[in-house]
Amino acid sequence: MKGFPFLFKFSYRNLWRAPKRTLIMLLSLSLGTGFIIWDLNFANSGSKEVMKDFLNQYAGQYHITNVDYYDRVNKKEFNNYRTMSDNQIQDKNLLEKSTKRITAPVFVSGEKKTLGVLLTGLDVPKELKLTTLKSAVTIGSFLDPQGSKEIILGKKLAQRINISVGDEVAVIGQALDGSVANELMKVVGLLDFGGGDLEESLAFTQFQTAQELMSMSPDMYHQRVSFSVEEENLPKLTGLAVTTWDEILPEIGVSVRFIDNFTWIVSFIIVLVISLGLSNTLMITFFEREQEFQCLNIIGAKTSWVAFSLMIEVILLGTTAIFIGIILGHAATTYFYHFPINIEIFTGGKPIIMGGMIIKPLVRLYPVMSYYWQVPLLIYFFLSTTMIYPLVRVINRSKNAI
């Protein structure tokens, strides 16, 4: 260890023998590191913001229902005869953080057409507090918390059944007691989901109206939907089921996971390409100094000493580059925290439709601390691999020096 400070100094000076070359290597590795950190932060924040925007609009983070409400295999299927009540929830804090809903597959009949929709009875004051559904109503108004027998339809559905705000529609379905459920409801607002599927298949009314339509007792409902994003651990409830959005909307979960995996693949590719280039440069740099290594051998320096000095050079270069890269990546992340990115840049300005709804997320980048050690580790791994071949060749050639 005595000779280490000298070796360190020697390696450091070697790096500055060709400053331009070292700077370019440093720059390419730093920019690569910085970009990967930024990119991973972007992908992570992007997924979270997109999901937040989407889930806060209507779907929610998780649903508390009767155990038999959702089909055990296919959560797209549900049994409307399976209801629940507040009495079944022991933790009363959950009631505060969630909103109750009634779901009713019905037919909405206009002047010329009758179409099937999922009518949802909403606890209006709670929905206004917890969701952003109101902002999707672009024509007319949202449901009146004090009103009844009002209905909100999707724009596309209204267009298809030739209905405008102020008109009345007939709602026909099957009540839970087996009788025919029918009601005349007044259209108060139209939802704009950017032409997505849900514009045709969703309708909303007041909770009490839906309860009466479905002939349900006053304390019963179908779902309690929670929008709590911070919820790390799902509540454990006896006699009730907790179903996450990922299970209800697997297509959205898959799309998000696909993009996340793709980002990691891109990161690996970038590190691989940079490593190949670095390996090439290191090899040229090492061979260029072959005569010098032979001289060092002649005056008594061991091959291991030469190899060790070269390793220090690479580690020094790598560590500096990774350090600068982390700063660059973090600075870019912080910048885009203050100036969020509109991901419509990926679609040429076209609105993004997800799960049948339009979403307009502005991605505010948040740093994920684990990336700040995972990425350097990845780069160190490739850097070490990169160094092996040039180093082995230098050692082999040095053996023949004397």
Binding site: R160, I270, M283
Partner: protein, 412 residues
């Protein structure tokens, strides 16, 4: 014809590359690898996008739909047009693979098993057979015929929910042309198994004669349409169809207008690829810049000597450009061979992505999302490969030659 001097300089450039064959190989390999990865990503997304497009088009959407103005506005089926020879002749072109005049009725089925909205398509069986392979996907019973009376073809998923078999009767509820609520009995003639569960639950087929009797209350004896569903090879046929319908008041919609959610997914993929390409381009340019620069600076003495014996700077540039040409050729050929090998194998076997959904089949916006993706290699991608290699190598070489010759000038 290449003159002697150029031939000599070309030979010189080739020998310069071979002088440091290992290093040249490394540079070429780095570029090739980056290009292979970049093009593979493009091929992968092209394959995915093409599978998504195919899945959307096959939900009886077609690449295009020509619609009557009222149907276009509100999907009101009450003013169907006649599909005469004049209309049929508008769509005669080798790019148009199939056309099917269709009448569309929104109905529903309501039984003790539940209730469901249906899209009842009135089709001309022979024309529809050219558009979609439903007739080949009949798992029980038979497909429609022109003169069937009130026969219906339903999806397997719908049959399962409502416990319907071939020969059973289905009560269809709907509003007719004048808005009157009606319930009519239809005989299940066949059950198909095709596309997604959502498709099988929603789409049912009857012939034009039955449709007209149900909705218009009489058979006009003519082929009518609310929409003409058209299949082409791709969306590039849009200007052709657009100009064909120009003299009429018919309206055109592409599948992207009809399924905006999946259209945006494709746009998003394209945006991601562009972003990825820029990043890979920048990375590889920066990465090979140093070795190429070192390669040229190492030859400074040699260039000085050549300059002393009268070789002009323009000739050095020529040598450099020939080197770019040769390296481009070598890297391009290597990349193309790798791509043909990798993508050739994967396009046949596919890449299984079902682990992302725990093996469960996923449906989005009415289509079944592909679980196994088959990358597609096209001529365009190979052309892009060569352009990309040329661009990356040119930037690195031009910068290196420029900085070396600048140094040469200074030292002279």
């Amino acid at each position: 014809m290449v003159n002697n001097e150029s031939r000599y300089l070309f030979k010189f450039a080739w020998k310069s590359i071979l002088r440091n064959s290992g290093r040249s190989f490394f540079i070429g390999f780095s570029v090739s690898l980056a290009v292979v990865i970049a093009v593979w990503v493009v091929a992968f997304f092209d394959g995915l996008n093409s599978q998504i497009e195919k899945a959307v088009v096959n939900t009886n959407t077609g690449f295009f739909q020509v619609q009557d103005p009222l149907y276009y506005q509100s999907t009101d089926s009450s003013s169907p047009r006649e599909y005469g020879q004049d209309i049929s002749n508008l769509f005669v072109d080798s790019k148009i693979l199939a056309k099917s005049p269709e009448l569309v009725l929104d109905g529903n089925i309501s039984t003790p098993e539940g209730a469901m909205g249906l899209l009842v398509l009135g089709v001309e069986p022979e024309l529809h057979k050219r558009l979609m392979p439903i007739y080949k996907k009949i798992v029980k019973g038979n497909f429609l015929e022109k003169n069937d009376e009130f026969s219906i073809i339903i999806g397997q998923a719908l049959a399962k929910i409502f416990k319907l078999k071939v020969g059973d009767q289905l009560v269809l509820n709907y509003q007719d042309k004048i808005g009157e609520l009606r319930s009519e009995i239809l005989n299940v003639k066949g059950i198909y198994h095709y596309n997604s569960n959502g498709f099988e639950k929603r789409y049912v087929y009857i012939n034009q004669k039955s449709w007209q009797k149900l909705f218009l209350n009489h058979d006009t004896g003519k082929i009518l349409f609310n929409r003409i569903t058209i299949n082409t090879k791709d969306l590039l046929a849009e200007p052709l169809i657009s100009s064909a319908i120009k003299p009429t008041d018919l309206k055109l919609k592409s599948w992207k207008n009809l399924n905006p959610e999946m259209a945006v997914v494709l746009e998003f993929h394209d945006g991601m690829i562009r972003f990825f390409f820029i990043i890979i381009g920048l990375t590889i340019t920066m990465t090979i810049l140093t070795p190429v620069r070192m390669l040229w600076q190492e030859r400074l003495k040699e260039l000085k000597m050549m300059s002393t014996i009268g070789v002009s700077l323009s000739k050095f540039w020529k040598i450099g450009l020939y080197e770019v040409l040769l390296m481009t050729g070598l890297s391009g050929i290597f990349s193309s061979l790798m791509l043909i090998l990798i993508i050739g194998t994967q396009s046949a076997r596919g890449i299984d992505f079902r682990f992302l959904s725990d093996g469960v089949s996923i449906e989005r916006a009415g289509i079944k999302l592909p679980g196994i993706i088959y990358p597609q290699l096209s001529k365009e991608q190979l052309l892009i490969t060569f352009l990309f290699v040329t661009l990356v190598l040119s930037i690195s070489y031009i910068y290196s030659i420029y900085s070396t010759l600048k140094k040469l000038k200074e030292e002279r």
